[in-house]
């Protein structure tokens, strides 16, 4: 180049020094992050486990079982019965090797603001032990009232099965069903009820295969 630019005047060692500083910074950050990861990764893993373990053990509390439920899990994909393309996990509880209950972790795909992640626990006979919501994006104050204002709403599932109430009434009252909707929000409860019904149907159809499958395998 004929016209001298500012860069041309800069001594070449400036560039070399910049590169060295950047490399050192990168190395220092990598080292620091590695150290931080060492410090935190066990806690993070514990948190991740506890996130599912707490509601899981709470749902299974009335049952007697002696296996490691968290590890005794299979993954199933059943868009036609469960109604969601995403894979669902099924945790199995056993006592002395005999199946006693299953907890199905699935989603209600048709929530008002995206999918609602659910834990649905059933005993061996297909009677609901309980339902818990793991994660949701429902409108604060309207769709999420099962969290506080109508905290008992999810409790009502306990003891129900595909025969009580009969299949036709597995929806919200507005549609002739047996379940209360929330003031100002029908879509959320309807989505949850539907997902629970589907999980029960799946369980009824595949119960034996659910319990026979090897952990982490597909029935």
């Amino acid at each position: 180049m004929a016209t001298p630019t500012e860069d041309a005047h800069r001594p070449p060692h400036d560039v070399a020094r910049s590169a060295a500083v950047l490399a050192t910074l990168g190395a220092a950050l990598a080292l620091g992050l590695y150290g931080l990861w060492q410090l935190t990764h066990e806690r993070i893993e514990r948190n991740r486990q506890a996130w599912i373990e707490q509601p899981l053990t709470a749902l299974l509390a009335p049952m007697k079982y002696d296996n490691d439920v968290l590890a005794d899990v299979i993954t199933v994909v059943s868009p036609d019965v469960l109604g969601a393309d995403a894979p669902a996990s099924i945790y199995r509880a056993r006592l002395a090797g005999e199946p006693v209950a299953a907890v199905i972790r699935t989603i209600a795909p048709d929530g008002y603001r995206g999918p609602i992640e659910l834990l649905i626990a059933v005993d061996y006979e297909g009677v609901l032990l309980g339902v818990d919501v793991l994660r949701h994006n429902e409108t604060p104050g309207l769709g999420d009232v099962f969290e506080n204002r109508e905290a008992g709403w999810l409790e009502a599932f306990r003891g129900l099965s595909l025969s009580t109430p009969p299949a036709g009434r597995w929806t919200v009252r507005k549609e002739g069903g047996a379940f209360d909707a929330f003031t100002g929000a029908t879509i959320t409860p309807r989505a949850i009820v539907k997902a629970v019904r589907r999980a029960l149907e799946y369980y009824r159809a595949y119960r034996d295969r659910i319990f026979e499958a090897d952990a982490a395998g597909e029935p």
Binding site: S18, V21, L33, N47, R48
Partner: protein, 202 residues
């Protein structure tokens, strides 16, 4: 880098965007405010120390490296010590840090001490605004203050949770996104009113 297209007040407004999203409860607002207060000045100081050793052309690379390192650290710490806060506000923390990178680049002309002070001041203003918005929105939307503090900050914070008045449904507008804009507008109006009252009296 000498000519940066944004002025600092425009930047503050940009930074308010994630702030509006997370100020629905006091806990979320405080979480983001604290993160800003700790990591804003920290990256500003580190960047200030590095800047003199880098050419202007490479300093932006250094800045990006530094910000991504800071963001990754916050992510690890949050996931380890407050998974609930992590689920609630994480995307906005990452968004926020981009604003800090911009801010540091903007301050590149000033001395390290000066730019650190400026960043600290901006972070303090932001944290305060977040706190005010959070209190206002949670109070209106839920009738409580610091709801969920125990779950987010640890058991010691449980005692801080206060139910100010019992509401059946709350005034939902407070919690929903439009409430954020209304609350921010009211905050700015209050500031302007204070300013005018002040200038009238002197």
């Amino acid at each position: 880098m000498s000519e940066f297209p944004l002025r600092s007040d425009a930047l503050l407004l940009l930074a308010m965007c994630p702030a509006l999203a997370v100020s629905d409860t006091v806990v979320n607002a405080v979480g983001l405010g604290l993160t800003a207060l700790v990591f804003g000045p920290l990256t500003a100081v580190t960047f200030g120390a590095l800047r003199s050793r880098l050419t202007p052309q490479t300093s932006i690379a250094g800045l990006l490296l530094l910000s991504s390192g800071a963001v990754a650290s916050v992510e690890l710490l949050m996931r380890a010590y407050s998974p609930i806060l992590y689920t609630n506000i994480w995307p906005f923390v990452a968004l926020f840090s981009v604003n800090f990178a911009l801010l540091d680049a903007l301050m590149a002309e000033r001395s390290t001490a000066k730019s650190t002070r400026a960043v600290l001041r901006l972070c303090a203003i932001l944290a305060l605004a977040l706190l005010l918005l959070g209190i206002a929105r949670e109070l209106v939307g839920r009738g409580s203050i610091l709801h969920g503090a125990g779950a987010a900050f640890g058991d010691w914070a449980q005692a801080l949770e206060t139910k100010v008045f019992a509401v059946d449904m709350g005034f939902l507008l407070g919690m929903l996104p439009p409430g954020a804009f209304i609350a921010l507008a009211l905050l700015i109006a209050a500031l302007n009113w204070l300013k005018r009252a002040h200038s009238a009296s002197t």
